[in-house]
Amino acid sequence: MRALVAMSGGVDSSVAAALMIEAGYDVVGVTLKQWVGAGGEMPTAGCCTVSDAEDARRVAAQLDIPYYVLDYVDEFTAAVVEPFGAAYLAGRTPNPCIECNRKVRFSALLERTAELDADVLVTGHHARISYDDAGWHLLRAVDGTKDQSYVLHMLGQEELSRIRLPVGEMTKVEVRERAAAMGLRTASKPDSQDICFVASGDYRDFLAQQLPETALPGPVVDTGGTILGEHDGITGFTIGQRRGLGIAVGEARYVVDVQPDERRVVVGTYDEMLAHGCVVSGLSFVSGTPPDDPNVSVKVRYRTSAIAASLHPVGERWTVRFGERQPAPAPGQAAVFYDGDRVLGGGTIEEVIRE
């Protein structure tokens, strides 16, 4: 059995490769070249840089496995970077990791896995995959603080049957301990936080460079339409945001809406910002079919707890009703449905429901 391990140069995928060797696989390491600077080289700052690829290569040499850098620049640009800019222009808050997983890692690279005569694709994601009579399941990671099941919700039965996520069974501390015990050079390498193609660390600088129209000023208004101030580009605003609004009023204000056509940012009170639910498009379900019970828990952003909600199919788009009013989710992010630790599926948030 051959395993293709996507190695980012971080500790999780390094240990994933080592664990697959222990499990008896012929392991092959690959790093995806996803983004290039103006000179056509991999970036030197941010994540997924030349030095990350070098770390991956050195770990592969230490583990005595073949290692290759595969070129996915065209796929990544079309599937992730261009939609990223387009989403911000449309007043949305995209999640590039989800689009990368959906269209590059677990589609293009999964196809490549078969072409390279490998049986499974392995990544260092913190999530678990299990199998029983009902089929393949995607579960939250053992380490709740590192759980990445949210960004993997689009995986279905066919994908899960060919993916392995060995570090999802370990806490991050255990992963680092294993790496240190094996003498892997990435054992104490810090976790990457940045969007991999944004070298400066500030996505607004990136957008201003790629799409200058994202840096055009516009009005900040209240829910009644009164102008409270001016902003220097709608891309700095996400629904629910409180800080950095650039207005001075007594009570705390939150972003209630971003209106790209007028380049308008609407702010309101906490109460005005709260939402009853959201409309979700592009749904997929891990089992292949929607859950029988419409009552689920839902996560509407990466770094929050799941909340109680109910699902209501309305044609192609589904309505998600929260059990109680919640800080409004941002269109462009994913709504991911859970039954306890089990991911049921998810989709992209299109609209906020406030009535």
Binding site: A61, V69, M182, G183
Partner: protein, 393 residues
């Protein structure tokens, strides 16, 4: 779990040499006689040739003997026409940049040169020199009159490679030199003979190029050393500045062991050229013949004269990236395009210049045979490659 230290890892890698190494154009193993000649200098026989004492004199004598042997081998009239460099890229930089800056003129070159020449030309362009890039035909050949027509009174250097490193296509360098001289007899003619030296007659013929780049590791010498033939009277501005070694044309303490190895490699390569052409040509021809009879394959620049070592092939519908990895699994080492720093495959400027579309280019692979290969190697290679290609088709 294999977590040995680096020394142990290196030993393991040495044991894992590919069964079939078909990437000799990238680098080829050192000849045994080269290693033997170098060994004393790596083990005790030290010395900086620039000193005045006996130890220095011994080292100096070694590099001057190497210089004389190389000069004799390539037919140079004066040993001082041989300038030792840190490899082919450095020789190309010294030739192109050194000649242009040395006489304050522009450069003319072709679209299919090695990056060592093309990037040197781009550097000249950035600092304000006139640079012209002459296109090639669909087979990758440059027309000598097109080169000559691009030359004007301000041209300081014309650089046309002897044979292309990717496709193996041979350029009409002698004809280029003749026509360039009739257009501007002060312009220096340079050829990058790095890829061709092992199989084609490359000499310091008075009618041929004034500047010739050669690299040791492509002909069975060590990596990191080469030479530039510089015809007497050719004025070059150095690109490496310092203590004035090599008559000021290339500063830096000499790499004595490598220079000794270079001289032996040059002699052996030249002595072995006719056998090389016959034997390696048989390997390549058999490889292409067997592949054509078994799988869907196109030979790049089929109508052009090519180096006998090179088989640049396209397998329609199969991405080179996938095929190279699958061949590596099967123990076959081959190459595609140019590898960038990260190791990913970059699009080939050579194929683009030949008008090959980007999809076709991304399905192209270079196999290159070496001096120990023969028709049997070619047949074995074709058998393994056909198997992998069929599996991917």
């Amino acid at each position: 779990m294999r977590t040995e230290n680096l020394v142990a890892t290196a030993r393991i890698e040495a044991d894992l040499d590919p069964m079939l190494y078909l990437d000799h154009a990238a680098t080829t193993p050192m000849r045994p006689e080269v290693g033997e000649a170098m060994a004393p200098y790596l083990d005790g026989r030290f010395g900086n040739p620039s000193g005045i004492h006996a130890t220095a004199r011994r080292a100096k004598n070694s590099i001057e003997e190497a210089r004389e042997r190389i000069a004799t081998t390539i037919g140079a009239t004066n040993p001082l026409e041989i300038v030792f460099t840190g490899g082919g890229t450095e020789a190309d930089n010294l030739a192109v940049i050194g000649a242009a800056i040395g006489t304050g003129g522009g450069a003319v070159t072709t679209a299919v040169e090695h990056p060592a020449v093309l990037e040197s030309a781009r550097f000249l362009s950035r600092i304000g020199s006139d640079v012209s890039i002459v296109p090639v035909d669909g087979e990758g050949r440059v027309a000598p009159d097109a080169v000559a027509n691009t030359v004007d009174r301000g041209t300081a250097v014309v650089s046309v490679m002897t044979a292309n490193n990717e496709t193996g296509v041979i350029q009409p360098v002698a004809e280029v030199a003749r026509l360039v001289r009739s257009a501007n007899d002060r312009a220096l003619v340079h050829t990058d003979a790095v890829q061709a030296f092992g199989s084609l007659a490359v000499s310091a013929d008075p009618d041929g190029p004034d500047l010739i780049s050669v690299s040791a590791h492509k002909i069975g010498g060590p990596q990191g050393v080469g030479f530039l033939f510089v015809r007497d009277g050719a004025k070059l501005e150095p690109v490496i500045h310092g203590g004035g070694q090599e008559l000021g044309r290339r500063s830096g303490t000499h790499n004595v062991a490598a220079i000794v190895g270079l001289a032996v490699a040059v002699e052996s390569a030249v002595a072995g050229r006719s056998v090389y052409r016959e034997q390696v040509g048989a390997a390549r021809d058999r490889f292409e013949l067997d592949l054509r009879s078994g799988v869907n394959v196109e030979v790049t620049a089929d109508a052009a004269d090519r180096l006998v070592s090179h088989a640049h092939l396209r397998f329609p519908g199969i991405p080179a990236e996938t095929l190279l990895v699958r061949l590596d699994f099967a123990g076959v080492a081959a190459a595609a395009g140019a590898a960038c720093h990260s190791g990913a495959i970059q699009e080939s400027h050579v194929l683009a210049a030949m008008g090959v579309g980007s999809t076709e280019a991304s399905e192209s692979i270079r196999f290159s045979f070496g001096r120990d290969d023969d028709a049997a190697t070619g047949a074995e290679a074709a058998r393994i490659v056909s198997g992998v290609v069929e599996d991917l088709s």
